[in-house]
Structures are given as C-alpha cells and as structure tokens.
C-alpha cells in the first residue's frame, strides 16, 4: 500500500525533453513507473525511448494518454505556468521538482489551487516514491529504497536519501517517501502528508524530517495533538548547528525568530509525542529500535 502514487499512476512528465527530464524519465521507467506521456510545447509528436509520446499541451496528454499525475522539470520562470496548466487540464497529483520559483509566484499559485481538487507536492522537492508499488515520481536514487511499512515525509532531498538508506540498511522498508520541498511555500505540508499516512493501512509509522525555518513542524505537532495522526512518529530536525539570520541553502531554511529554531521544533514534536531522532547518523537505528 502507499499514498499519493501507486500502480495506477499514469505519469506525465512536463519538460520531458530537457536534460533533467530525459535523465529522470529513463530512471523512472527503469524503476517501473508507468510514464505515459511527456509534454513540451513545440515538441509534440516526438517519442522518448521510442515509447513515451510527447505532446505540446498537458490537455492533450490527458486526453490521449490518460495521464492522471504529472512531474514537472521545467525552469523556475516557467514552472508556475506548468503547475497551472496541469491543474487546468485536470491532473490531480502534481509533483514539482523545480527549484528557485519566486515566493510571490507561489503565493498566487497556492491561492489558485486552494479552490481546486489538486495535490501539489513541492516545488523544490525530490518527489514521491512507493517502493512496494514500483512507482517513483521523483529524482531520488531508486536502489536505496525497499518495500515496507514506514512512511517518510521530509523537507529535504539528500537528507531523505540518507534517511532511507539508513532505514533500508537497518531492515526497515518504506511504504511511501514524500519530499514536500525545501521552499517556505509548498503545496502539501507535513499536515496533509501525515493525514494521508494516517489513512494508509500500509503505513505503520512515519519518519518526519524537518529543518530550521517556518512553522511546518509545529503545524505537524499541532495536527498530532489534535488527533489527526495517531501512528508512531520519529522526527529529525536538521539545523541545530545553524547560525541565525543566514539562509542555509533552502529558501525556507533560515532562522528568523524563535519558532524557526531547530530546538523549538524539536520541543513541539516531542511534546506531541514524537520520538526524536538524536542524530542524523542514527536514523535507521532509532526507527528500528522504536518499531520493536
């Protein structure tokens, strides 16, 4: 079992014909993902690897190839347009890998999507993978994942790979791993992802990987306290050693006030009953022990 993606996912790749799009489409196909179409304006009629048809418009990809999910690899200036095009064409799951979208553009996009029945993952995220379903909608290295019953939700990319790597080495498989993205404004936050994991019978526990900046971890803690998520939660918050006022890579990773501190987030999550992972080097071990 899984959340967000599964064997019925019919994936469209927006920006398939670009460098990154081609590389990861090959990887996703190799993993078993059902990539049914690509979309690049002006490249309609091409085929990727002689099998995936490319269309000029998302609407066409939905109509002709039956795409029901989309992954976006287009540059930041065009990415909001790509998200809106997918939403307008009726795509229900949109995963936006693109990094560097202006925050004010995302304010508008999120406001627009609020009235629509659409889940946006990202932007600036590694995507979603469900190893048991052999469905990878993202850019994560495939081979570190193994099917299992622990969900992962994370603001980070490579740190998620590290977490998954440690879980797999510790013999803990994953139901679904979701990178929600490192920007201050993203589509689905921890709360939405935890709600999905709560309802997923294939998920027994969740590893949450937060970081400094924003209030997403506090919102997750509030959601747990309100009874929205009742399964075991293991939490790691990166950035305890980060200085205040400096952007640590991610646009969202900056300490601008007390709430943004790793210590505040850890306190909130602990208070909500989460098991705190003491060090990034002990993710696998902590979860394995916690799962008994």
């Amino acid at each position: 079992m899984s959340i967000l993606v599964n064997r019925n996912t019919r994936l469209l790749v927006q920006g398939l014909t670009g460098h990154q799009g081609q590389y990861h489409t090959a990887q996703m196909l190799a993993y078993g993902t059902n990539v049914v179409a690509g979309a690049t304006p002006g490249r309609g009629g091409q085929r990727f690897q002689d099998r995936v048809p490319v269309y000029d418009e998302v609407e066409e990809a939905v109509a002709k190839a039956g795409a029901n999910a989309s992954i976006i690899f287009v540059p930041a200036p065009s990415a909001p347009d790509a998200i809106l095009e997918a939403a307008d064409a009726g795509i229900k799951l949109i995963v936006c890998i693109t990094e560097g979208i202006p925050a004010l553009d995302m304010v508008k996009v999120l406001h627009f999507l609020r009235e629509k029945d659409v889940t946006l993952i990202g932007p600036n995220c590694p995507g979603v993978i469900s190893p048991g379903e052999r469905c990878r909608v993202g850019i994560m290295p495939s081979d570190i994942h193994t099917p299992g019953r622990v969900g992962v939700a994370s603001r980070s990319g490579t740190l998620t790979y590290e977490a998954v790597y440690q879980l797999t080495r510790a013999g803990v498989g994953q139901s679904t791993c979701v990178g929600i993205g490192g920007d201050p404004l993203v589509g689905a936050n921890f709360v939405e992802v935890l709600a999905l994991f709560e309802d997923d019978p294939g998920t027994d526990a969740v590893v949450l990987i937060g970081e400094i900046g924003g209030v997403k971890e506090q919102q997750a803690a509030d959601f747990i306290k309100a009874g929205g998520f009742t399964k075991p939660l293991f939490a790691l918050v990166a950035g305890q050693s980060a200085p205040p006022g400096k952007r640590m890579g991610h646009a969202g990773a900056i300490i601008t006030g007390t709430a943004a501190l790793a210590s505040s987030k850890i306190a909130a999550l602990r208070d909500a009953g989460a098991a705190i992972i003491p060090s990034p080097a002990s993710i696998g071990e902590t979860v394995k022990r916690g799962m008994g």
């Binding site: 200036p77 560097g100 004010l104 553009d105 050693s241 007390t258 060090s279």
Partner: protein, 387 residues
C-alpha cells in the same frame, strides 16, 4: 538579497513613501556638502549590510556640516562591528547624510511572506525603534498582523485597522494606511522577501517618515529584476562567501575547524549537526547542489581550502543526480600543485562509486573513506585526536 538603506529608500520614495531629505556620500567632502545643502542638524549613517548600527557607532548626529565631515571621515573606510556582524565587521564605503527630524513617535512596520499563512503578511507595532525580534519574543501582543488576500492585495482599511489598533489617533490612520499601501506596492513590484521600516516615525509636525528602511529581494526572483541584481554589494560579504555566492554555491562561514562539503541543504545541515554533536565544530555550511558538476565542486573545495581555520575536511555526498566520479574529479581538481595538504574524510554514495573512490586512491592524498555518516564522524574524531 539585501539592499542598502539608501537603495531601499530610493525605491520607497518612488512609490510615494516619505523619507528624510539627504544624500549619499563616498568621501568626507561629499558628506559635508550634503550636510551644507540640508542646512541644519543631520545624521551620518554608515551604509552596511547589517543592523544594530546605532549602538555600534555607525549612526552619528552632526550639528554642523563640519561635524558631518568628521563623522564621515571616521566611518568611511572603517569596518563596522555590530551585534549582527562577526568580529571582523563589515566595511563602510558610503554614508547616508540625512536631515535630523523631530520625532514624536516611533513605529515598526514590516512585510514578510508568511509560510504559515501562505500569503503576504503586513506587521505593525507601536514598539518601533527597538529590537523588534526582542519585542516579538517578550511582547508578541505588541506586534499586529494583517494577512493580505492575493487577489485584492493589501487594502487601506487593513492599514487603518493596524493604525488604530496600535493606539494611534484615527486622524492619522488614513495617512499611515497610505504609507503601508505604498510599502506593500514596493514589496510586490520588487519581489521582496522582507521589508522593514524600523522606525517609521511620526514627526512633531505630523508627517509620517521612514527613518530607516530595509528591503530584501527574493533571490529566486532576481531573474526578472536585473537592475536590482546588479546592486548586490559583494564587499559586504565575507570574501569566501562572496566567491561562493558568485559561483552559485550555498556557503556560510562558521567558527569551527572542520571544513565540510555536502550536497543538498538538509544533508549539509544534518552533517554539520552530526559534527557538532560529536564535539567537533564545523567551519562552514556548504551545499554544492544536487547536480554538482566537477567545476563547481572544484570551486567549492578551493573555498574550503582557502579558509585558514580549516584543519580537516569532511566530504559527505549522497549522489542523486550527481555521480561520485564527477565529485571526486572536482575535489581533486582543487588540489593543484602548491595547495596545502589537508586530511580528508570522504563519504560518497551513489552512481559510479567505485570509479570515484579509485580516483581518490590514485591521487596520493590523505583520504580516509567512510561507508556511513556514523563512520565518517568517527573517522573525523580519530583524525582530530591524532592531529
């Protein structure tokens, strides 16, 4: 990206906010000339990318043009050390000379993009002129907020509400609201990530003036603001941070002696946390990015090596898009002949791992390999004990 006070004020003025009369000076003579033109008491303000200037002596009152010149002489060419800078301070290349105003009240006005509200939020406080973060900590009720609807934008009534809730007379609410609307318009037009007017003052004669101004522009939006991007003042950065920034590498200089090179922001922070938890101290944050190409890695490694505080190096790269042999090539490229020898712990994972490790082995450098983050930290500690 930060803008200097004088740059911020020029933008505010274009959008209809009142700022003090004044002028920029790069020499003491120019400062004197501006002061003469102002014909009255004035303020000489160091233009640096840091707050806390007043307490650090970066803002000085001058009764006469000659005094303004003296202050400018003292400030220009010096390095200003404030509570927000490191001990090395930031260089003062320009001063802003402005008329001194008779201030009745000091307010705080700020605009941010709030991740929780997923919208722009306008903040105001009657506790202006002070450290607003301390106010937020100790008296959060003094900071008032209005969430902006992205369809209609910030509305004048929201500004009036903030004004009235700050306890200002309703007679001032209208003009204060107009100033807030103007600031909001700058914020949107220039893709800001932060706008702060602290203090926004009400003068004895009833004018509302931005006494200080701080605009930060969203780095991610600079592609559509070439004019603003060109304003970045690299002199205000640590030299290594400046080099990294110009190369598009996320690098933050820290106090420790373990240089570290990572890919991915979360991974970089986690690695720093692990180093610190082990009792060692990271010398920097450094994220070479997901698709690290050899040249960028080489630049990043060069920056690490140039930091004299760095005594050992940890490379912790989890290949997603990046290939391990590319990472290895980049790192080794930085060790040109003459480069100082430095012990390294290398933990690589991902595609072409064996090729990458082989390149390190063939290099003859002092490299310890680690299979996991735990091993890597352990190896670092051993190195440290041995050194």
């Amino acid at each position: 990206m930060k803008l200097h006070e004088y740059q911020s004020k020029a933008l505010l003025s274009m959008y209809g906010m009142l700022v003090p009369r004044g002028g920029l000076a790069a020499t003491p003579q120019e400062a004197r000339q501006v002061a003469e033109r102002l014909a009255g008491p004035c303020v000489v303000k160091a233009q640096v990318y840091a707050g806390g200037r007043a307490r650090a002596g970066g803002i000085r009152m001058a009764g006469a043009p000659q005094e303004a010149e003296q202050h400018a002489t003292a400030l220009l060419g010096s390095r200003l050390v404030t509570s927000q800078t490191g001990p090395e301070g930031v260089p003062v290349h320009r001063v802003l000379v402005e008329e001194a105003l008779e201030v009745e009240r000091e307010l705080y006005l700020g605009i941010v993009i709030d991740g929780g509200a997923e919208s722009v939020v306008v903040m105001a406080s009657r506790a202006g002129g002070t450290d607003i973060e301390a106010v937020a900590r100790e008296h959060p009720e003094l900071i008032l907020r209005q969430v902006v609807d992205p369809v209609v934008g910030f509305q004048a009534f929201q500004g009036r509400r903030l004004a009235i809730d700050m306890g200002l007379p309703a007679s001032l609410a209208r003009s204060l609201a107009a100033q807030m609307v103007a600031l909001y318009e700058v914020f949107i037009a220039k893709d800001c990530s932060l706008a702060e007017i602290n203090p926004l003052v009400i003068t004895r004669d009833g004018r509302i003036v931005a006494l200080d101004a701080k605009l930060n522009v969203d780095d991610d939006a600079l592609f559509r603001h070439e004019d603003l991007a060109a304003l970045r003042d690299w002199s205000q950065f640590d030299p290594l941070e400046a080099r990294a920034g110009q190369a598009g590498i996320a690098y933050v200089k820290l106090d420790g002696d373990v240089g570290c090179l990572m890919n991915g922001a979360g991974m970089a922070m986690a690695t720093m946390d692990a180093i610190q938890a082990s009792g060692l101290s990271p010398a920097n944050f450094l994220d070479v990015g997901g698709a690290a190409d050899p040249n960028r890695v080489a630049t990043a490694m060069g920056i690490l090596l140039e930091d004299p505080a760095v005594k050992r190096v940890l490379v912790n790269v989890f290949g997603g898009i990046a290939r391990c042999d590319d990472i290895a090539r980049g790192i080794l490229q930085a060790f040109q002949p003459g480069q100082r020898a430095i012990p390294m712990v290398v933990r690589l994972l991902g595609a072409n791992l064996q090729e990458g490790l082989a390149l390190f082995r063939a290099s003859g450098l002092n490299v310890t390999f680690a299979a996991s983050l735990l091993d890597a930290i352990q190896a670092l500690r051993e190195l440290s004990n041995a050194q």
